[in-house]
């Protein structure tokens, strides 16, 4: 079963570098931002999004 109300998806490619603050701005008032498979290209190594977000990987 898929959920009745689909959540909007935003593709943020070619907009490096990402910062926690910048990503939170994308929430635009939403209760939460769900960053999926959020590999940060060009970074020294892939890092989890940190800051005020809660990381599944932490």
């Amino acid at each position: 079963m898929t959920r009745r109300t689909k959540l909007p998806i935003t593709l943020l490619e070619h907009q490096d570098p990402f910062t926690s603050e910048w990503i939170e701005q994308q929430a635009n008032g939403a209760e939460r931002v769900l960053a999926c498979d959020f590999y940060i290209s060009g970074a020294e190594h892939a890092e989890p999004v940190t800051g005020d977000t809660v990381s599944v990987a932490s």
Binding site: L7, L12, R32, C36, F38, P48, V56, A57
Partner: protein, 274 residues
């Protein structure tokens, strides 16, 4: 909330992808609140599937988890993985070369298209796919065949646990671990501009001890351009390296003893249901 297998933590040193985390989280924590937004930064198989699962555009079908593992880790044939990986490759090349294509292939339209393809495949199999998707799958099969031929031809040299090759065609690295089962590390190099600089892709091989990570090798100590996750990385994004393939392989061999010291790997990936 970050649902991502790239994190350089011990818990992620396993064959798991973001789509698997999304499936596990949905199963254990339930649906996300309606007042949520999903963001992704790229459009490979795992990003398309994980965003689709979390947003509700795709059902929590276990076949999606298997596809993500095939795309990110094993390289084994899988229609969903082969289709999405190759469509993303084609799209990435076109985006760089054709501004008009970039307009037509904005993020939202490509995601709608790719989610629709996956849904059609889940419902009707390959008969449900369009010509563009069928062509992508055929292209992926050709690449897998080329990888098999490269190994059979002896393009790879084994040097103390490191299998290395100079390839004339850029092939997806995940196609090789299954073809080189005795390698702890696989190094694939292509010439960047003649012979002075090299682009290197590195994959952790199937013979590496369980719990090993490329991060253990501290590759950046000799190649500052290298970056990646625990089982795969490359130096292309940062300009490649002047180190020739054999010399690069020798540097890797000297560091393989780092695999002997491994941190404890937790049994499960923690899921924060908040």
């Amino acid at each position: 909330m970050n649902i991502d297998h790239h994190a350089p933590t011990c818990a992620m040193r396993r064959r798991i992808s973001s789509a698997n985390l999304a499936l596990d989280r949905l199963s254990q924590c339930g649906e996300e609140p309606d007042d949520s937004v999903v963001i992704i930064s790229h459009t490979d198989c795992d990003s398309v599937l994980s965003s689709g699962i979390v947003s509700g555009e795709l059902p929590p079908d276990p076949r999606l988890g298997l596809a993500a593992i095939a795309a990110d880790h094993t390289g084994e044939a899988n229609v969903i993985a082969d289709m999405l990986q190759e469509l993303d490759n084609i799209r990435s090349v076109s985006l760089r070369a054709d501004p008009q294509f970039a307009l037509e292939e904005s993020g939202s339209s490509y995601l709608r298209y790719s989610h629709d393809l996956v849904q059609r495949y889940l419902e009707r199999g390959e008969d449900g796919l369009d010509e563009r998707a069928q062509n992508a799958i055929a292209q992926r099969k050709r690449k897998r065949g080329a990888a098999r031929e490269a190994v059979a031809r002896g393009d790879f040299t084994m040097l103390g646990g490191v299998a290395f090759a100079t390839l004339t065609e850029k092939l997806d690295g995940e196609l090789f671990p299954a073809l080189l089962p005795d390698a702890q590390v696989i190094l694939m190099s292509t010439s960047r501009d003649g012979l002075s600089r090299w682009e290197s892709k590195i994959w952790l091989g199937l013979a590496a001890p369980e719990g090993s990570s490329l991060h253990d090798l501290n590759i950046r100590e000799f190649d500052s351009a290298f970056g990646g996750r625990w089982n795969a990385g490359a130096n292309r994004r940062n300009g490649g390296s002047s180190i020739a393939p054999r010399a690069y392989a020798e540097l890797l061999v000297r560091r393989l003893r780092s695999f002997d010291v491994k941190p404890a790997i937790p049994d499960q990936v923690p899921l924060d249901c908040i």
